[in-house]
């Protein structure tokens, strides 16, 4: 694809508060996923594989991890002289300075940046979905239909339509109506939050949106309805395949489990559409004598002496002899010490589960860490926490650092995480 056909913008602004402790120190798109990846690897790799060489990442919440992670863009083949990957935070202008007000405002504030590449089209993506998609095909459809905007849609079960933005189209795929989370949907085509706009058209629409004091400056709520009202040519682009929002603890956990249970759906082994990530520079995994592994993903630097069943382990995880890990996600550098038992847990980076501690063993129990954002007996351990030996933590807990740590607390201390 030629450089000035298209520029991509990834909306990575949200705090992702429904992920609790997992997004305390980093933006949601930086949350680890699937053993080797972070969520943002998916849109970044899709861009790279689609031939898009200029990608802006719009973020204002905890961008440091994302900044270091994306770095020069090299892992995604986005270390370009003219273009590449850019972190785009809010900034001060000579007249005024604003944090991003909404998704549309974030694009509007960076219009000069986009203009610098003089693109025909702008691809707008959200930074919290797991999927593989060739945006070049969508762009071709956009050109072929001479669209002002093309919105990627996916068929969802009729009973879930009330959770999505639903598109009603004519026979040719042109959008005739749009309902945001309708009680009674007229179609089951849901917007995936993936937009291609003809840049000149969008620029005008964004300016109008900006001039409207009542607008919440959001693409779905404001800009798309405004364009539709003005009679713009809005087209849908049908996608079928794996696509999952990982905005909640439960969905993050189950998307990880999909890699084990439905490996062919997302198919990370497909060499024609690789998902890239920054390499941790660790050796191959070592599985000791006496270890047991069943339906589990390992990656670089893991050392397994114990038993791991139906779990996704990130790099440099250690499971000591006699420890048992089941149905869990262990993020980079997590350690499960000898004799510990971990079930249905998401263990943050560098967290240490002390000897003979039990996590999720009893799914019901009382704990000061029981949390409404944890469901389905899933327990989350914040990164860097040292869980006391023999601690007992039931399901549905969000174990976070608290400054008022008492002697009896299951958390012993907090280790720095690199």
């Amino acid at each position: 694809m030629a450089r000035n056909d298209i520029v991509a913008m990834i909306l990575a602004g949200g705090q992702g508060s429904r992920l609790g402790a997992l997004t305390k120190h980093l933006a949601k798109p930086a949350v680890p996923f699937g053993g080797r990846y972070r969520i943002i690897d998916f849109p970044l790799s899709n861009c790279s594989n689609s031939g898009i060489s200029t990608v802006g990442v719009l973020t204002q919440y905890q961008p440091l991890v994302l900044n270091t992670y994306i770095g020069n863009g090299q892992p995604w083949d986005l270390d370009r002289n003219d273009g590449g990957a850019f972190i785009l935070p809010p900034y001060q202008k000579s007249s005024r300075s604003d944090w991003y007000k909404g998704t549309a405002n974030a694009i509007h504030q960076n219009a000069d940046f986009i203009d610098g590449y003089d693109p025909k089209c702008l691809l707008v993506l959200s930074g919290d979905h797991i999927y593989k998609m060739d945006y070049a095909k969508m762009l071709r459809a956009h050109f072929d239909r001479n669209a002002d905007a093309t919105i990627a849609v996916i068929e969802v079960p009729w009973e879930e339509t009330s959770r999505f933005g639903i598109m009603e189209t004519d026979a040719d795929g042109r959008i005739v109506d749009f309902q945001e989370k309708p009680a009674k949907a007229k179609s089951n085509l849901a917007s995936m939050g993936i937009y291609i706009f003809t840049w000149d058209v969008l620029k005008k629409a964004l300016q109008e949106d900006e001039d409207d004091p009542k607008s919440s400056n959001d693409f779905g709520k404001d800009v798309i309805p405004r364009m539709m009202a003005a009679g713009a040519n809005l087209q849908t682009y049908r996608f079928s395949g794996y696509w999952k929002d990982v905005g909640t603890v439960e969905s993050l956990w189950s998307a990880n489990m999909d890699i084990l249970d439905r490996p062919d759906d997302l198919n990370l082994f497909d060499r024609s559409w690789r998902i890239y990530s920054r390499n941790p520079v660790k050796p191959a995994h070592y599985v000791a004598r006496g270890a047991r592994l069943q339906n589990t993903c390992l990656t670089d630097g893991d050392i397994i002496e114990g038993e791991v069943d139906h779990s996704v382990l990130f790099h440099s995880v250690v499971v000591e002899a006699g420890a048992i890990v089941k149905d869990s996600v262990l993020m980079p550098g997590a350690v499960v010490q000898a004799g510990a038992y971990v079930q249905k847990a998401i263990v943050g980076a560098g967290a240490v589960i002390g000897k003979k501690a039990r996590i999720g063993f009893a799914s019901v129990g009382s704990s000061p860490y029981l949390s409404r954002i944890c469901s389905d007996d899933i327990t989350v351990i914040e990164r860097g926490l040292q869980i006391r030996a023999k601690a007992d933590i039931p399901g549905n807990c969000m174990v976070e650092w608290r400054d008022d740590l008492s002697e009896g607390n299951v958390v012993e201390r907090r280790n720095p995480v690199r």
């Binding site: 082994f269 050796p283 191959a284 995994h285 339906n295 390992l298 670089d300």
Partner: protein, 370 residues
């Protein structure tokens, strides 16, 4: 810190042979320890020492090295002016000269002359260890040596054609012996030498003038008895790869905890080409014991005391013991392998049985269908 040196890696030791494993690849490009090539260790040592210009000298089979090293990005050696230089033999005439060996040293001389660093670290690639050369450099400079050699006394492991040093008590070299009969307890060179760039230029120019075409610094130095040569001991774990047998044995040693720790967990990263494989999937029913397995694999069967490279499939009811499996190999169901080295992209049909001896492993060539 503040190291004023460039690096030079000799990718091929002409005194050694690794049979079929190196028939189509340079020795330095030999896969090792699951996700590496031999050269990765020395390159990482140089980079971790803070060296930013490295020449890789190769007289043939340089395509294997070019493919692996690429632009040098994986080692952070893709630089504007310094960085990584692959030095293939020089072909200036309009048809390839049949005495291509001459290029061995002229390309090296060109690189040395266009560099500005004071010192050069000249290294082989057949010895695997993880370190920085900070102390080596400091002692060399402090002692006012002309040349420093790194050695260890792990003589029993050394190959026949090793270079052995005899020294006085202070460590100054008295003699450089090439391939002596007995080596037990002696100081055997690790093929790491440090000297001033100008001195190296003089030594090489002199050697070319004498009609030598092969860059063998040990040999050249023996003639220059006036130089003050310091032998410095290396205290860590070093694996010497000089034959198929020693390659096999070294791989098995990597499975030992102290060796793994020394090579990979010393806080010094070992860089290699990134392949972006998916995490490995250990499927239901697999049994894995005392093995290292790399990313991108699908393990259905049994793996014991083995080293498995990237993107290997091991079928159900297959069993591997004491094996080395290079990347992209596919082992169908019900195979039985013991003491086998499977080269890249081999395909084993269901039910294949291959058994070698630890001292004489069976080697299956690249891309073979068995």
């Amino acid at each position: 810190m503040f190291i004023d040196a460039m690096g030079l890696i000799l990718a091929e030791n002409r005194r050694l042979s690794l049979g079929e494993l190196t028939s189509k690849r340079a020795q330095a490009a030999l896969p090792f320890a699951g996700r590496y090539r031999l050269i990765d260790f020395m390159l990482s040592n140089l980079v971790n020492t803070g060296i930013s210009r490295v020449g890789v000298v190769t007289f043939n089979k340089y395509r294997s090295l070019m493919d692996h090293l690429g632009s040098g990005k994986a080692w952070d050696l893709s630089r504007k002016e310094s960085g990584l230089f692959i030095l293939p033999p020089n072909a200036q005439s309009d048809s390839l000269s049949s005495s291509g060996d001459i290029g061995d040293m002229t390309a090296v001389l060109d690189l040395l002359r266009t560099s500005h660093w004071t010192h050069v670290l000249v290294c082989g690639a057949n010895n695997v260890f993880t370190t920085t050369f900070d102390d080596f450099y400091k002692r060399h400079v402090d002692a006012g040596a002309d040349v420093s050699f790194l050695y260890d006394t792990d003589g029993a492991e050394a190959n026949r054609s090793a270079t052995v040093l005899t020294t006085d008590k202070a460590g100054w070299v008295k003699e450089i012996l090439l391939s002596p009969e007995s080596r037990a307890g002696m100081k055997v060179s690790l093929d790491v030498m440090l000297l001033r760039r100008q001195l190296l230029i003089e030594l090489l120019s002199d050697a070319i003038a004498r009609g030598e075409h092969v860059l063998s610094l040990d040999r050249i130095l023996r003639r220059h008895t006036h130089l003050r040569i310091l032998a410095q001991p290396f205290e860590g774990v070093c694996l010497r790869i000089h034959s198929v047998e020693s390659y096999f044995a070294a791989t098995m040693r990597v499975l030992e905890k102290p060796v793994r720790k020394s090579l990979f967990w010393s806080a010094l990263p070992v860089y290699t080409k990134v392949k972006d494989e998916a995490p490995s999937h250990y499927c239901c029913g697999c049994e894995v014991s005392n093995s290292m397995i790399s990313d991108g694999c699908r393990i259905h069967g049994r793996v014991e005391d083995s080293m498995v490279f990237r993107a290997v499939t091991i079928g159900a009811r297959s069993s591997l013991k004491n094996c080395i499996v290079f990347q992209d190999a596919y082992i169908s169901e019900g195979c039985e392998l013991e003491n086998v080295i499977l080269d890249k992209a081999c395909f084993l049909r269901p039910g294949v049985k291959l058994v070698g001896q630890a001292a004489y492993p069976v080697v299956i060539g690249k891309g073979a269908v068995v």
